[in-house]
Amino acid sequence: MGLNLLAVAAVGGAGAPAAILQSGVSNIVVNGLIISALYAVVAIGFTLIFGVGGVLNLAHGASITVGAFGAYYVARVFGMGAWAGLVAGVLVAAAFGAALYLAMIRRMEDEPIMVMILTLVTAVAVEQFVLTVEGSQPKAIPALVGGVTRVAGTNLQHNLVVVFAVSWAIILALFLFVNYTDAGKALIATSMSRKGAALVGIESDRVNLATWVIAGALAGLAGVFLGSFQTAHWAMGRAPLVLSFTIVVLGGVGSIKGSVVGAYLIGFLEVITTRVFDPRLQTLVPLVVLLLVLLVKPEGLFGRELAEA
């Protein structure tokens, strides 16, 4: 999809309408690249929990909110700065993930419906808590870095460059962790066969806890990023949750590669829809894609092949 856009840009040539077209296209490409990386970070956590534990964490969006408000408090309310806020957001959301697992999920790992209900209730509770304490007014988390550069006719915030770089660093780190470390392989093994993992001496409790902590930390990071180039508000976790669903359905369960591919498909589709058609369609895009994929190809676009990643 990205390639097609670049092809259009190249054909565009030098005329005045073409220049506008080109800047529009590069705007789409740049934004698509960045937003998709962030979506991948969100979706990877969701898919790890689903792949390893076999449960859907409907509080994944709540972790995003928790991370964003953790960062908001440390950075703004306590005035400790953007980077301290980032660290705090990640830690608080990771702790939130750990608490969810230890307090509730561990007891009902074999009851996926119960887990859905519990995490949904948790998500609503977090939203209501934030709404009650902070009100419905959106909060701004300070940008990690300031400044703007003009790239290919479009304004590029340095903050977004940081988001892109950190997101990709984390995606690559996770990929290496999962594929090349014993702990990572234990995680993938658990996702393929829980009994098999137990037979070789892997402690599924610890693996599950690790996935909830990792997923929480990733969601927290995404929350801080979203809050820093958009805003933090009580319902900010909803759209990313739907997005995670869609990306996982697209990319296959428990697959990092699949999540990245799915995130980029959705990310670009969303950016194109909002820039070319109507911004109000943004949250509708992943929902429509989710429905279409579920109806037409419920096993996902890639089946399970990608799950080795």
């Binding site: 093994a189 066969s193 009994k195 098999g196 037979l199 070789v200």
Partner: protein, 245 residues
Amino acid sequence: MATTDAAAPESAPDVLSTDDLRVTYGKVLALREIDLTVREGEVVSVIGPNGAGKTTLANTVSGFLDYEGSAEYRGREVADRSVSDLVSEGLIHCTEKRDLFGYMTVDDNLRLGAYRHGEDADERLEYVYDLFPALAERTEQNARTMSGGEQQMLAIGRALMGAPDLLVLDEPTLGLAPVILEDISDAIEEINDEGVTVLLFEQNVTFAMNHADRIYLLENGEVVREGSPGELRGDDYIRESYLGG
């Protein structure tokens, strides 16, 4: 107690022993009053028809099910330890369903078998590939695309990677052609010769008799006969019901 062969004298220490072991699924009693002993170096086989409780017993002694009564591995209660601790202590279970990592290669499956015994993994890998040359020919093949016989070899191979003291094998012959049965058969002999104690759950009575030092016959969750293969071959009931007259 039944006679045993020279490889496993009566004096050999117990690796596994159960005393009045009982297991229930909900209200259904699946195992009752099981007194089973496996001594160091032995091959002990538990035989019985479908639904007799073999898999239940296998899962119980390897730490996967709650039980009443007693089941001791190396003198300590199984229930006092986690499955991963038991694996560390050399109690390795090769299940009826095999439970392989389907989307991983043969090599990765085997290496994960050594999850608790990382040090000599390379040596053990070589040993397993020697034991099952069919696996050595397809190290990069995904487990789920392999034939039933190959998967069984992989499951046993993965168990061996865990450096077993006691290898629990649940119906390794299930659904296998006679040729592959031979391979599995040879492998069990060789594994036992290396000093590994084997607890073999089998429906294939002939296969079990060929390997076992002692046999327990399980029916409806109860041990109804026990003895050496020779003793059981001479038993009228066993001859009529299990050896075709």
